[in-house]
Structures are given as C-alpha cells and as structure tokens.
Amino acid sequence: MIRMGWLQFVHSWRVWVTAIFIFIMSGWLFGFCLTGIFTLQREIPQLINTSQDLTPLFSIPLVFGGITLFLSLKGIIQAVLDEFKNEYQLWNILGANTAQISRLVAVQIGILTLIGTIMGFILAQISIGSVYGWLQFYIGEQVLPTISFNFSFWGFILTIGGEVLICYLAGYQDTKRILHARVRSNIFRLIQNWTRNCVLFIVVVALIKLYFFNNLSGLAVESKETIIANRLFAALFYLIIIQSLSGRFVLPFCLKWITRIKLIQQNAKAGTGRWNVITKPQKMMDTVIPILITQTIIVLLIELFFGIPGAQSDPKNMIVSFIVYIGAPICVVFGNIISLAMLKGRQQRHNLTQLNLMGFTRTDLILERLFESGYYAFSFWIGAMLTNIISYSIMAMGMASMRLENELNFSSIAVWSILVTVVLWAFLAVIDLASIHRWQRQNQLSRN
C-alpha cells in the first residue's frame, strides 16, 4: 500500500501541495519546541526540574499543538477526497475496502507531512533565535536567560517522526470516519442530529443562565476577579460549542435574511455570490467557523487581561500563559485555515466554467468572487459581534454587580472584529483571484 500511496501522491501532488501550509506551520512549531527542549538540556541542565525550569515553555505548546494538529486534518482530507471522488470510488469498485483506502490516504498525508515538516524545521532553525529574543524582550531575561540555539539531531528526528506519525494516524482515522459517514443509515443521521440539537439546547440554556444571573454581590472581595474570570471561561466554553454545532446553519441563515435586498438579488454578480455562499454550509464550516472560534478565544483573553482590574499586575505571566496554552493551537488552526482556503480555491474551476458558459466575463467572475468572499467575511462579522457582545456583557454585568470598574471599552473589541473581518475578506479575495487566474490559464491552454 505504501507504493500505491506513493503513486497516488505523485499523480495528485498538485492538489496535496496546496494544503502544505499547515504541515510547514506545525513543522516550525515542533522544530522550535523540540530544538528548545534539547538546547535547554544541553545549555542549562542545572535548571531542569527546578522552579526556574523553562521546559514547560516548549513542551506544553508541543503537546497542545500536536493534539490540535491531530484534530484539524479532517477538513483537508474531506477536501482532497471530494477532489478525487471518482478515483477513490473506483478504488472501492476495484475491491479496496475502507481500511485500505484509509491507508492509501494516510500514506499520502504522511508523505506531504514529511515534506512540509522538513521545510518547517528549516524555518524553525532560522527563526528560533529571533523568536526567543522577542519573547525575552517582553518577558524579561530573569525569566528567560540567554541561550544559544543550535541544530539538534534528535530534535530533527523527533520532529519528523512525531509529526509524520500524528498525521498518518489522523489521516487514517479521519478518512475511515468520512467514508463510513457516507454510508450511514438515515436513522443514524437522525440520532446524530437529535443529539446535536439536545446538546445545543442545553448549552444555550446554560449560557442564558450565565447571562441573566449576574448578581454576584455579597461575595468575598478576594474572589471577585476569579469568579468573573471563571464565568468568562464558562462563557467561552459554551460559545465555542454553539459556534461549532450551529455556525454552519445559523450564519448562512442570518446572511440570507440580511441580504434579502432587491439590489443584491437582482444583480447577477452579487446575487450569484449570495446563493453560492448560502448553499454551501460546508465551506462556511471549514473557512469561517475556525476563525470565529479563534477570534472568540482571543477576545476573551483580551477581556480577561484588560477588562478585569488586577489582572494586569503580572503581565509577564499573562503573556507566558497565553503563549504556552493558546499560542500553539492558534498557529496550527491558522495553518489549517490557510491550507483549506487554498484547497477550496482549487476546486472552483467547475463553477467558474459554468458561470463563464452562462456569459460571465473575467471581470464579472472577479466581482462575483469578491462578493462571495465579502459575504463570508460579513458572516464572520455577524458571528463575531454576536459572540463578543455576549461575552463582554457577561463580564461587564458581573463587574457592575460587584461594583468593580470595567477597564475595557467595547469599541476596542468592535474595532478588532472589524480588522479581522477586513483581513479575512482580503485573504479569501486573493485566493479567489488566484483561482480565476489559474482557471483562465488552463482554459487558454486547453483551447490551444
């Protein structure tokens, strides 16, 4: 199966390579962390297992990044299986069972991971000194002593081996799950939907309770900040679940109703873009929801660090905690979003050809895609504003009931959301423009 996986990879490398960014990103992360760990053991062994041990600064992101990587690959695998649907169906027709097809895909992911990880590791070697220096600047030399980072052979081996293993296993697992999902019975799907709706209902009720029950007065002064922080973490947990389970339905629904303007519907480009977004909830799921969740986490941390008085008394600890616990998963999620967006960009040619046959010129296609990416960005903004209003209100009302001063203005959160929306629009627009350019070039080649 390794040989067949290699042959299949060679045949479909152009598609796979558009997804390489996440593997480069995680290769960088793994390379950075493992080089750091081995360097610490070599340079400052006396600090290992003491209170000044810096190993957690590298090991915790490694673990959290690895877990995030394992969980993030499903979207990429789904996109590749969709691209080569006919081929994988033919494998099945010719006698390959689900496990064999899963191994076939897993081998290809392993090969791509190997290439991406090596590139990421090289980048890590180049950048590790600068990144550590930057951290040192913000956190201080007392916490982060000066260390000389050098290439670590075992760091290299473990980076490659660890990442290839994680991605192979994730690839196998996710492919199997996707293939089985396609043949699941209607009853199973009904149970799945019912379970999802029940979980959503429970979480929404919990969030409403959190929102409206804000009378926290009478509690001990020392615990007030902690209580508000805990309530914010609870809100974050509920909001992430709501976004994951309902985002792909709620956001297109909101978009559909908000854009029910004749001006939009009657315009060929704006109207077509609108329907293309509303009828593809999977793209919303893959592209917008992960960014929305990441945005929610970051906004919550901003509210924690800058809204609650006293939280800024130890900014260094805040930065370290952020980097250690959140930084790695955010890097991997960011890499995943870029990979997915580029993969989806590739799959546009059929739609572009259809529109072209119906009379869309190149300019029309560009405008239509700009509207589409604008709608995705706008959907993100709707979700972000709703979420931010909820989390900010929970914080603000809790602090008001305890007579604590709210040090964070909502306008700064709103500006942050708008900035992310604009960046998202620009990013999606660039990918779409590149897709149109590639499609046009392929069209010209096939005509000649």
């Binding site: 067949m4 042959l7 299949q8 060679v10 045949h11 479909s12 006919n86 081929e87 033919l90 494998w91 099945n92 027709i93 010719l94 006698g95 390959a96 069972n97 689900t98 064999q100 043949v183």
Partner: protein, 247 residues
Amino acid sequence: MMNNSEILTANKIVKTIIRQANAPEIKILQGINLTVHQGEFLSILGPSGSGKTTLLRCLSGLMQPTSGQVHILNQNLYQLSDRKLAQLRRKEISYIFQSYNLLPALPVYDNIVLPLRLGKQKVQPQKVSNLLEELNFTADLKQFPGRLSGGEQQKVAIARALMMDAQIIFADEPTGALDSISRQLIFDQLKKLVDRGVCVIMVTHDIELASKTDRALILQDGQIIQEFMQPTEAELLQAMTSKEGAS
C-alpha cells in the same frame, strides 16, 4: 433459492429517487425480477431514461435499490459487510464502464494486478504479459492510462477481469466510446470470456452487438417489457423502434 447454474437473481427490484425536498418520488425501476446463469451473455437495451444503467448499478452492488433483493453467488449483495463486499469485488465481480475504468495514478501493470494485490494474492508477471499478448495489447506496461487509446484502456480492463478470474462482469456501454474496429475487438474479447464460463451483463445501445448475445432484455420506464433468447437484429430493431415511437 438459487440452483447451481444461477449466478445472479434479482427479486422485485424497485428504485425511487426524490430530486428535491417536497417533490414527488420518481420511480426509476418498478419491481424487476431477473435471473442470470453462469456463462450467459445478457444484454440490456432500452431508450434513454428507461433505467438501464440504474438497473445495472443495482444488480452490481453500486447502488442500493429502494426495495428488493439481489443475490450473487448465493450471497445477498446488500447485506454484505464492507469487507465481504470488497472481497467479492476482488475475486468474483468485475466492472467495465464506458470510460474511467482505470486508476490514472497507476501504470497499466499495476491497474491489472490491483485486485490481486488488494486481496494479498500472488501476482505472476508472466501471466499478465501472456494475457495482454492474447488481447493484442501493444503499449508499454509502464504506461499510464492517460496515454492509452480508448480501445487499449478497455483491453486493460478486460485483462484485469481475466487476471482475477472474475465469474461475473458488469459492463456499462463498454464499446460506447470506441471506433468500429476497437468496438468489434472488445466485444469479441467479451464473447471469449463468456466461452470460458464467465457471465457478462452488458448495457448497450448497440443493437448489432446485442443481437450477438445469448439473451436481450428491453427495458422501458423501469420495467422489462420484452425478452429475446438468441435475439436477431431485426427483432431488436423492431422492438426498439416501436417502443421509441410509442414513447
């Protein structure tokens, strides 16, 4: 209960689809009963939209019927596990489509021996070469399918069926995309397979080829309306033109 020479039985096969939510069901197949024997060459004809390809896909395990049963080699096709179905496809059942029969990623040799490799069976390279010589295949075994002509691709698909000693072959317009010479060559190869005891079930629009099969079924509106044993071209032409005129 199937007797020894029956290789496939289909009982009350119905296939309905719903194209859009809240739209009425469309019945593509309406209670088809069919028995096919070992070493039989069966052709299925009918006007466009009569359900020929749907019937073939239901009989071959590619599409689950809405109701009804299909038994191949005494096994209920739609009650087999994923593993057992894959085993059946490696050893007993082969498929030849009008196009897209071969995996574009694999060279000719690997395409031919793929079912054997999937079943972890031993591969005899000499047997592959001998088979391809028999089929008059002249291209390189290391070539990729994209570089082969339509006729050559179909020969590779037939070679694959021969390598795995398939007992039943489902062919959907196997000569549809070929020139007249290749068409005859491929059909002759299918006939040779039948002479070796393989059962071939073929969907075709080609009346001339269908007249050279053992049995021909005429399908219309999802039902078998006529059956001919040792059909002649004239019979089939009359049956087809009268049905097309009526519809």
